[in-house]
């Protein structure tokens, strides 16, 4: 009897997730496919100021994808309003379903990839912990502020170029975790699915301690308000 109940529960749970997946697929096919493509790689012919990122190599996990789909990328700090908010288009169940579909279909190992990449990074020696803010501030001002601005709002000098070809994030609003920010700075945007390499990888120039210090500075200065 217990076995039958367990089996029934398992079948019900599987069918519920199938339904969620199917609903997500339906919405994705209706709405998302025109920008992100059938395979999620964003290989579409449309002209974009900022091309959609590949969902296959995105750094975002399912919950973060849900938040981006719900509120749109501008809400989370993107200077380009290309990824719109869908909260007035779909109800919460539908938004959950499409983020579930996107994560399971295109990027089921996103979290594992972040964990694995971070595990490869160097630990910060104890004696350097107290110097992280100063080191991070120096490097942020020297390199990052050109695009992200001295206040982290994405309004640095380089964005005032008449060509307006870059759209840096407001670092006070990004939903990336500290580990994700470090990995984004280390490997650059292209590694994590963006089409252009506007956010370059800094691993040639700086060691892990320095890049973690920059993230520490960003966290302390722009996100702890």
């Amino acid at each position: 009897m217990k076995g039958i109940l367990l089996l029934a529960a398992l079948v019900l749970s599987l069918s519920a997730s199938d339904t969620k997946f199917d609903l997500g697929e339906k919405i994705y096919t209706q709405t998302c496919v025109s920008c992100h493509g059938v395979n999620g790689k964003a290989q579409v012919d449309l002209e974009f100021v900022v091309k959609p990122r590949s969902l296959q190599t995105s750094i975002l996990d399912e919950e973060q994808s849900y938040n981006i789909i719900k509120k749109g990328s501008h809400y989370w700090g993107s200077a380009a309003d290309i990824m719109p908010s869908f909260e007035s288009v779909y109800d919460d169940k539908e938004l959950r379903a499409v983020s579930y579909y996107v994560s399971k279909k295109f990027n089921p190992n996103a979290k594992k990839r972040v964990v694995a990449e971070y595990a490869k990074s160097d630990l910060i020696p104890k004696e350097k912990l107290s110097k992280m803010h100063k080191r991070g501030a120096k490097i942020y001002k020297r390199n990052c502020s050109w695009c992200h601005g001295l206040t982290g709002k994405g309004d640095g000098e380089a964005t005032r170029n008449p060509e307006k070809s870059i759209f840096p994030y407001d670092l006070g609003k990004t939903l990336l975790t500290k580990k994700q920010m470090f990995l984004y700075a280390k490997h650059g945007g292209k590694f994590w699915g963006t089409d252009k390499n506007d956010m370059p990888g800094w691993s040639r120039k700086y060691d892990d301690y320095t890049l973690k210090s920059v993230v520490f500075y960003i966290e302390e200065t722009f996100r702890k308000k």
Partner: protein, 104 residues
């Protein structure tokens, strides 16, 4: 005598400056072109931005320290090489850009 010396010094300075060469370094495709340069002390290097976005060029070399600041698309900036030695020039915005300068 003093006037003659003064005139001589000024003439030497003018002659030296007339002999100084200018070296053009293009910033194109997020690359310094050329990526290595041999110059003489007193020469100038003109950085030209041929990309459609902003660049920068700086060195932390103590004897030749400079930072041209933000360089808009199409802009040119000139710096003078002050001392002999080898130093690296980088763009603060694009970390893979590297120029090696040897000053003799």
């Amino acid at each position: 005598m003093k006037t003659i010396l003064k005139t001589l010094l000024i003439s030497l300075a003018i002659a030296a400056s007339a002999n100084a060469a200018n070296h053009l370094v293009d910033q194109k495709g997020k690359t310094f072109i050329p990526h290595a340069l041999t110059v003489a002390v007193g020469d100038t290097i003109t950085f030209k931005n041929s990309d459609p976005f902003a660049h920068n060029a700086y060195t932390d070399d103590e004897a030749n320290e400079f930072d041209i600041g933000m360089q808009a698309a199409g802009a040119e900036n000139k710096v003078t090489v002050k001392a002999a030695g080898t130093f690296s020039v980088e763009c603060a915005i694009h970390p893979n850009m590297l120029l090696e300068v040897t000053a003799k």
